[in-house]
Symmetry: C2
Subunit: 551 residues, 2 copies
Amino acid sequence: MAEVRNILFIMYDQLRHDYLGCAGHPTIRTPNFDRFAAKSTRFSRAYVQSPVCGASRMSFYTGRYVHSHGAAWNNFPLKVGEQTLGDHLRRAGMDAWLVGKTHMAVDRDGMARLGLSPDSVIGARVAECGFDIWDRDDGLWAEGPDGFYDARRSPYNEWLKSLGYPAENPWHAHANSGIGDDADIASGWLLQNADQPANIREEHSETPWLTGRAIDFIDSHDDTPWLCHLSYIKPHWPYIVPAPYHDMYGPNDVQPATRSAGERVDPQPVYGAFMANPIGQAFSRDEVRARVIPAYMGLISQCDDQFGRLLDHLQATGRMDNTMIVVTSDHGDYLGDHWLGEKDLFHDASSRVPLIIHDPRTQADATRGTVCDALVETIDLAPTFLDAVGADPAGHILEGRSLQPFLHGKTPAAWRQVAISEYDYSATGMAQSLGVAPRDARLFMVFDGRFKMMHAEGGFRPMLFDLLTDPDEIRDLATDPDHAETLDQLYQHLTGWALRPSQRTTMSDAQIIARRGGSQRKGIFLGVWDSDGIAPDELAKITGKAQDRRA
Amino acid sequence: MAEVRNILFIMYDQLRHDYLGCAGHPTIRTPNFDRFAAKSTRFSRAYVQSPVCGASRMSFYTGRYVHSHGAAWNNFPLKVGEQTLGDHLRRAGMDAWLVGKTHMAVDRDGMARLGLSPDSVIGARVAECGFDIWDRDDGLWAEGPDGFYDARRSPYNEWLKSLGYPAENPWHAHANSGIGDDADIASGWLLQNADQPANIREEHSETPWLTGRAIDFIDSHDDTPWLCHLSYIKPHWPYIVPAPYHDMYGPNDVQPATRSAGERVDPQPVYGAFMANPIGQAFSRDEVRARVIPAYMGLISQCDDQFGRLLDHLQATGRMDNTMIVVTSDHGDYLGDHWLGEKDLFHDASSRVPLIIHDPRTQADATRGTVCDALVETIDLAPTFLDAVGADPAGHILEGRSLQPFLHGKTPAAWRQVAISEYDYSATGMAQSLGVAPRDARLFMVFDGRFKMMHAEGGFRPMLFDLLTDPDEIRDLATDPDHAETLDQLYQHLTGWALRPSQRTTMSDAQIIARRGGSQRKGIFLGVWDSDGIAPDELAKITGKAQDRRA
């Protein structure tokens, strides 16, 4: 019977839940994701723990809520002591490798305080979110007057240079820019250039490069069972793609924006601030959507082709039979829906992601090609992986739940009632424009499968949507008295969640239960008047002939 | 002008807030605590973060709520990565030393995972709650059929043996037992023996021994400024004390129990389970109180005499002028109040502690001998210490607030509205008798200065007391419809508290604010259509002559 030996954990960056053919997009072409879904289980209601790269990924990798691990936004360091997939899987004899992006920032102060050197094996893993590094490439090699956004070495830029690409920063000048009319760089940073072909040979662009690196990794790691986190930067911005993908889609393939004029009338203040930012303003313009979305779709179709290349390789080398394969994303992209761009808030366009899991075991045969609409959180992946390889579930540390029952056609008892997501905007301009203190610039989503609430710290009113009657999340019901009780119930869920013992990670439930009673067996007697009823062996320890009093 | 060079942080164990003369106890004699209070500020409403030794102390030492540090009960390890007083004070050039008890359990798995050896300086501090060790003596050297309660070496037992005390475990046989009629050991574990003199010379009992060790420390540490945590086991049980303290108090000195028959009628279930345990049953008997409380008071008067010895030594060596001295306790002792013994729940007898702070600086002259009734949490001490020595307040890590304004006669703006305390009874027999799962066996106190609520996880009803009209906390108002709104307000405080960003400890507010904006200066352009309005130096980085396309 087939077993799960290896785990290929594939993440795309900023891939919307609904931009796959198998998810119902009417015009996008993703035959390889679709054929993969046909022999896997697709989870149609998977929500990220935070709709922003860094925080979302730290939740994927720790299996814990943002409120628990504290790395609440991009480049907020993950504190030393937080355990990751690597820690849990190595205890089960597996390796954990990284090919691509994590967006993890190292807690340098914490490492220094504990004397951990990044040069040591332990230190290197702490500094890399628990992974061993095949390639670490966060994919944002932007440079400005204040220097590079990411100060690390760029394996991708080094590779392009080795191929002879002449620019100082070929990631920008070639992979993420076109050539303008007057032979200037048509920078991919400018949305008007999104219809240009990137100035690079397609096979040299980022997605094919990383796919090749992943194949190299797979072919060279047959000794120890592994989890390989293959983590792509695309279809994340800059929105530009090489030929032939740059003109694979046109304005006719762009779906109308999910938005209504009513959303702009007296919006909840934090939502209003995000609508008012330059990104929301830009993506509210039809010409921006018409220029950008075809490029975004082209980037996805390129991801799809490369995924097909990877699947073919796994098939050809017989690895489909013992590899669990997961396809997901760290968050979505508003693309103009709700008058917003980027991600950050909790509408489905932002907080809901694709999640397709291929379990090679025969127990999963019955669910192949099916869709599971259970309320899933992306922290569920870590326990699913541990479950798949028979490792300690570490339920006192991991806050998600194994999805294996769903994969094997079972319905778990008492599945979660709500999905929680969080967003910390304390480091953004919106906190500034709203005049909110860092500790108050935080948002929480509570979604019970029908009603989705956004709670905002700092004294702002909440938002509430009924996805049954309003699947597009257009009508904010938070101020409707008829929904006061619903709001109250969602707040009760929020309180119960917030009070969870998320830091009680040094004691398992089994250890706690084993502690009950027993201290009297170690000589501690409480509320005992005399020796009546004390076991003889216990009594013998506390009485018996006295020694002379010292005068 | 005087400055704070050293900090002497004195903790007694299980000392009730109201068992000092200066706190109004009608019969106890504590002249030295009283004279100390006369030249210090006494905080009359100080609440511990958990009414149990281990969890309460981890909050004192980390300056964080139990919900934040996770060491929720006795011997639940404090997870590697949590910072303590020692970490914060060493950054300010101070040492942090321990003389006595911490009840800290080391996170061995966490240390092993990070490769930290207890033999290294860093590892030793991590293993000892951030302190350097002068003496570590947790003071519970009980032994039963299953071995010792505490497997460490006992410096106190070793000292007694060096003095020629013949017993195998002189801590038990001499310091904590008397001699029975037939020359058997009259074990201090049996409450009926509480009126016996301990079978030891007074100067050899635990409190004088530790005081001597503290004086030795002080006299030998003049080089580096220090915080010295002098942490006594007494007046903690076993309730037995050497002559002359054993008969210093009699039944006439015992105050009537604060309790009423009504409390036993349909009690809140968790409260009911604690009343039903053997300790509650024993301390509900008048003969137990009449026998035990005089011994408890004798232990306190012995602590008082030894405190006087210490004060005289500091005075004689001129150290009063540059030493901040704090006297407090880790929790109280029910002693039969509310039909309970021990601590654990949130009535004042258990959760409220003495707190007297002597600030040697002239700015504190105006408040000497005064009483401050501000709502204080014991996590306020860590920031008070950092404040006193001008260290980084670390407000993104420490959750308390500096008490220095009160010491200097100022009233801080927007002081806290509620005090929070927590109790995790998952490892106790009460969780078993109530049939509660480990994650649900947790209690929370929210006290706004008038109304005190106990919230219980696991679906139990709350408790509510109005300390203005019912200072003895006898009438539970939680089910009274007239107080529904009060309950709702306290729950809102609980929710706000529970949602705090307690794990966002790798980014200070200042660092977060400094991050706002600025990514465009590092070449990240979002929502930008064309080059209009981009600063020339920024534009130069993303345009300029293109390189030839590679054919």
